[in-house]
Amino acid sequence: MPDPVQIAALARAAGRELPPERVGPAGEVLAEVIALAETLDDLPLEDVEPVLGPPGHR
């Protein structure tokens, strides 16, 4: 899990600075989301166009 200093730095870089007491709760959720995101790491994404816009309109 990213440490609080990393979370705070990430928030500053994102332009969404967090009050000190919010770093922990945000970090917990982010850790869970990153863990889920990592389950997509092994997918064959080369040459795959991301869905940006209504996905059903072909």
Partner: protein, 470 residues
């Protein structure tokens, strides 16, 4: 004849329009009956955040003065409180967040042009960020079949109002499942249209990649009438489509002969055994009417949860960016921490999730080659208790309530395709629905299939029991 003579609990839009057009009932009488029902029941059900009695009666009086009228002339409708109605507050179910729109949302403008009477704004999860209809700021919406149980959300208010006779239909939004889930738990027909089929102009977003606007209704025909009114391009919504809007009503004798119907096996396996059994039995009945049933599995479906979590969290966080600092202390804690975390998701993770989503869509499209529609549960269980944090699901496992309610609808939401929920059964008088899913702009076909299914559990058999019996 008044709406009370007709029995507000049995009345459909189609029947109401017949009576209104023939002059056998007035729009004022119908609206007065709905307002009286709200007075009698909404204290216990909490479907409305704002009731516009004066405005609704004025609209009804105007409807009575217009001869003929549009397809929804005089029909009382509940609009989810993330959708702007001119002159009424939009609170999005939040605390201390309020907008006073001077223009109707695109879909509401179409309802009004069709003669609808907008009764008020329906309860919703805070900023529509939830699937159960619970609201810590304004009180939970309660299931009219059993008020100790959740209504489902986040289009909770429109669903409950429609089910309990406090409107004849509702206008909601579906991002992950927020029309289909309350439709399933409240015994209604709910349509998530093709993304872009209905204008999103004037709607408080949840996640741009997933948001749709759609109807909740008592019958398939009513849902089709509503969809026909609200569908279509809107210059104020760059995502909306100019794809032609067909006649959606299924007609007198819809059939399924010759259709190839897929069963989403992974999703059926998530459901409680009783629900799965009824779904398979429904498929069997469709087969006996001439459809071919095909069991399908999707290689990439298991990636849906991760995709959705990343994409929605990031997008919703950005939706709230303009007001987040000011609103921070007023959010309920679960929503606040999700929004804070969402702003930290790297763009690379977001883009990878959207690439994975493309793989999932292509996988489903390939598996559905030659298949006309797909069937899946709308919810894996009937409405849980309002104080439940966890529930038992199909495999006998315990799961948190949110994950369980999302499990069958979330994967389908990745596609951008249309999906509706139609009731197929009840368990101890609590209803549950089945999703009918199709390719983009096949809503007419989905409604046709749903109309056949609906014959086996018509509205009079799945409406809530009278309040005196609860």
């Amino acid at each position: 004849m008044t709406a009370i003579d007709l029995d507000l609990d049995l009345l459909t839009i189609a029947r109401a329009r017949e009576e209104l057009a023939a002059g056998r009932m007035s729009a004022v009488a119908l609206t007065e009956a709905v307002l009286a029902r709200i007075e009698a029941r909404d204290g216990a059900l909490n479907a409305y955040l704002h009731v516009d009695s004066h405005g609704a009666l004025a609209q009804a009086e105007a409807a009575d003065r217009r001869p003929g009228g549009g397809p929804l002339e005089g029909v009382p409708i509940c609009v989810k409180d993330v959708i702007h109605v001119a002159g009424l507050p939009t609170t999005a179910g939040a605390a201390g967040w309020r907008r006073m729109p001077t223009r109707d949302a695109g879909a509401v403008a179409r309802l009004r042009a069709a003669g609808a009477v907008i009764v008020g704004k329906g309860n919703t999860n805070e900023f529509a960020y939830g699937i159960d209809g619970r609201n810590p700021h304004h009180g939970d919406c309660c299931n009219p079949h059993d008020p100790t149980r959740v209504s489902g959300g986040s289009s909770a208010g429109p669903a409950v109002a429609t089910s309990a006779g406090m409107a004849l239909a509702g206008l909601g939004t579906d991002t992950t499942g927020s029309i289909r889930v309350p439709a399933s738990l409240c015994g209604l027909v709910g349509v998530r249209p093709t993304l872009g089929r209905v204008s999103r102009a004037g709607v408080v977003p949840l996640a741009w990649s997933y948001d749709t606007v759609g109807p909740l209704a008592r019958t398939v025909e009513d849902a089709a009438i509503l969809l026909g009114v609200i569908a279509g391009g809107d210059p104020d919504d760059p995502v909306s489509s100019e794809h032609p809007v067909p006649e959606y009503r299924p007609g007198v004798d819809p059939d399924v002969r010759g259709l190839r119907i897929g069963l989403a096996e992974e999703l059926i396996e998530l459901a409680e055994p009783g629900i799965a059994a009824v779904l398979r039995e429904t498929a069997g009945r469709l087969s006996s009417l001439g459809a071919e049933i095909v069991e399908l599995r999707f290689e990439r479906l298991r990636a849906a949860r991760a995709i959705h979590r990343v994409v929605q969290l990031a997008e919703t966080s950005q939706v709230h960016a303009p007001w987040f600092d000011e609103q921070r202390e007023r959010y309920a804690e679960p929503v606040r921490r999700l929004l804070e975390a969402g702003s930290l998701i790297p763009a690379t993770r977001y883009l990878a999730a959207q690439q994975a989503r493309r793989l999932l869509i292509d996988d489903v499209a390939r598996a559905m080659a030659g298949i006309d529609v797909l069937l899946a549960p709308a919810t894996p269980l009937v409405a849980p208790a309002r104080d439940a944090a966890t529930v038992l699901v199909g495999g006998g496992e315990t799961e948190d309530l949110r994950t369980a309610l999302l499990s069958c609808v979330l994967p389908i939401s990745q596609l951008g395709w249309p999906a509706l929920s139609v009731p197929i059964g009840t368990d101890d008088a609590l209803p549950f629905g089945m999703q009918v899913v199709g390719r983009p702009y096949t809503e007419r076909l989905l409604l046709r299939v749903a109309a056949v299914v609906e014959r086996w559990l018509p509205w009079p058999e799945r409406r809530p029991r009278p309040a005196t019996e609860l």
